[in-house]
Amino acid sequence: MTALQNELKTMIIECLDLEDIDADDIDNEAPLFVDGLGLDSIDALEIGLALQKHYGIKLDSNSEETRAHFANVNALAKLVQSHRTL
């Protein structure tokens, strides 16, 4: 799991072109949006597209479920894993 989390952190940093943030700075449980990493709704759209590109994941759930998947790195990792085992 840790390897996947690190991979996701690198994906987030690269796809959002983030500066002054290293993978080590992102806590697996810290919120990605607003309070934690300070990402915004546009970043959420970009992460959605990156998940599709990297892992072939389609977000066909509603916004609330998507928001839950995007809560933090661990939640994203769970989403990717559940998709792999399908």
């Binding site: 959002l16 500066e19 959605g48 389609k58 977000l59 916004s63 998507t66």
Partner: protein
């Protein structure tokens, strides 16, 4: 229905007409009337005339503003619910309604009210103030933009003539009704056209797809933020023929993005140009390859350009029928067509959100650390705001002791009080002085150059500090991005001795109060080089009687340097 429905004579809507769809639940006009009654009953208990309204549900929002209109109160509509916005608003209004702190709650009513029937509602006075729009709290204290019912109705009728509504098409939206574009296109115009509004905002393009799939026909009200990031791998063809129209506003859309979505949904994409102050001004349809990128004025809008290139808009959607001076520059073409040429002021749009660069600078400059700051637009993967900033002594010391990341976090959180996350700067460059040229001007080129170069660092990254009365031991990391490595030397960078003395001097000042002016250096020795990414212990000992500070840089390799700094 012979006469067109307007906001004032809305009661001619059919009672069973669907006003809004909340997931699987439909709200009809008669249900809406009952909801307005509840809010009217609630609001009649309060004497206050001006109310701030913020609600994510457009149906509830509409019921609230109608209740305000019928109780002769006005709706003050903030663009966001940021603390600084609400703080400013609370001095201007008598109370808050909706999803806001300390908002009043709707009366708990079990029996239907007498007003819960459509025929008990009279037509509203078109001259009454309908809404006051408050834009984001970024540009100091922006003026509220006032719209009467008549202004809004005129704008709605203009749109209705240009793009006749299809009554059964559900309006899906990725934009909020708390801003004028969303208010008109997502909520008020559909309401007057008997078109149902889909209550949930579509946050992702996947939501648009999933919600659209459940409708027979739909209209999409969106913006370049979503349209440029559409997930093309969804089966959009499955929706072919269902989409009646696509609208996009808030910022110009790239032609290729317009064409892409228009193809995916097999319908026209209409871009709208306008502003909160003027309402709609012009439109274009770039979704057909051969179509022009020029904007076309709407029939009831008059545009004039004075000799100084200032553009004035006159229309019946503007407060008091006055003309409004736009801050955009344009190139006029024949037949009411024009090209946009950028702004004349420091207001910019980031993902469709208006923000004042000067406003951001003012917020930053007010901080105790900041000597001067400059905000600019940079275009990378997305268009974003970057800051070039010079600290004062206090700020420089904070940067030295706390490090770059925590300092950025502090400045970001300062701004997040006033700004929406989308417009918060994402790139920070700390410089000794802003790059004024010989004419005393800051050129965009020089600022852009600073931002395009990777951020350099002036100070080591402090891991731990152990301090007692007259000495301090600092364990720190020497990152490769330290600016003093640059050119010293290209193939084998080493930390210059002068940088070490400079750090020792500044660290001494930061830890021992009341040091006088630097006087001289004594017994300076550089024994071993310091290379990038080394971990170093800096030991600083203060001798108050002699006003001297001895320092040493050591690591597991031994002593790198040592010396004494004497003060006056």
């Amino acid at each position: 229905m012979s006469s067109p429905i307007s906001l004032s004579n809305w009661m001619v809507l059919q009672p069973d007409c669907v006003v809004a769809i909340n997931r699987d639940e439909q709200h009809t006009t008669s249900m809406f009337v009952a909801r307005v009654s509840v809010w009217k009953h609630t609001l009649s208990q309060y004497s206050g005339k001006r109310w701030a309204v913020y609600h994510s549900d457009p149906y509830e929002f509409l019921a609230i503003i109608y209740a305000l209109w019928y109780t002769h109160k006005s709706a003050c509509i903030p663009g966001d619910d940021k603390p600084a916005t609400l703080e400013r608003l609370c001095h201007q209004v008598d109370g808050f309604i909706g999803e806001l702190p300390n908002a009043i709650q709707p009366a708990d009513i079990t029996r239907p009210l007498a007003t819960a029937h459509m025929d008990s509602w009279r037509e509203l006075n078109p001259q009454q103030i309908a809404v006051e729009l408050y834009t984001s709290g970024s540009s100091g204290a922006p003026k509220a933009i006032i719209k009467t019912l008549e202004q809004l109705d005129n704008e709605i009728h203009c749109l209705q003539n240009q793009w006749p509504a299809q009554a059964d098409a559900v309006v899906l939206s990725t934009v909020s009704h708390q801003h004028l574009y969303g208010l008109i296109f997502r909520l008020l115009r559909p309401f007057c056209a008997a078109q149902p509004v889909y209550c949930d905002i579509c946050e992702y393009t996947e939501d648009v797809f999933n919600v659209a799939r459940k409708q027979n026909r739909f209209v999409l009200v969106s913006s370049p933020s979503h349209i440029s990031r559409i997930n093309t791998l969804l089966d959009w063809q499955a929706l072919a023929g269902q989409c009646v129209n696509i609208f996009s506003a808030a910022a110009p859309l790239e032609k290729s993005h317009a064409i892409r979505l228009s193809h995916l949904l097999n319908t026209s994409l209409w871009e709208i140009y306008g502003s909160s102050e003027t309402g709609v001004i012009a439109w274009r349809n770039q979704s057909v390859e051969a179509h022009s990128e020029l904007w076309q004025l709407l029939p009831s809008v008059v545009l004039t350009q004075s000799d100084d290139e200032q553009v004035h808009i006159t229309s019946s959607f503007i407060e008091g029928g006055k003309s409004f001076a736009l801050s955009d520059r344009i190139d006029m073409h024949p037949l009411g067509r024009f090209a946009l040429k950028g702004r004349v002021d420091t207001i910019v749009k980031i993902e469709g959100k208006r923000v004042s660069l000067t406003g951001i600078e003012t917020l930053l400059n007010a901080h105790a650390w900041v000597k001067e700051s400059k905000a600019l637009i940079v275009t990378r993967k997305r268009t974003e705001i970057a800051i070039v900033l010079a600290f004062n002594d206090e700020g420089e010391q904070a940067l030295l002791l706390q490090g770059r990341k925590p300092i950025i976090a502090t400045l970001r959180s300062l701004l997040s009080n006033s700004l929406e996350t989308i417009v918060i700067p994402r790139r920070w460059r700390f410089v000794d002085a802003l790059p004024y040229n010989k004419q005393g001007k800051l050129t965009q080129a020089s600022l852009q150059h600073i931002v395009n170069c990777p951020a350099d660092l002036k100070w080591p990254t402090i891991n731990t500090r152990v301090q007692d009365e007259n000495s301090v031991r600092i364990n720190c990391h020497i990152p490769a991005e330290i600016r003093y490595f640059k050119g010293h030397f290209d193939k084998a960078p080493i930390l210059p001795g002068v940088a070490q003395v400079h750090w020792a001097h500044k660290l001494a000042i930061a830890h021992f109060a009341n040091l006088n002016r630097f006087y001289r250096l004594e017994v300076i020795k550089f024994s071993q080089v310091i290379q990038p990414n080394e971990n170093i212990d800096i030991q600083i000992t203060f001798n108050p009687a002699k006003q001297q500070v001895s320092f040493s840089f050591q690591s597991e390799k031994g002593v790198h340097s040592s010396g004494r700094i004497c003060f006056d």
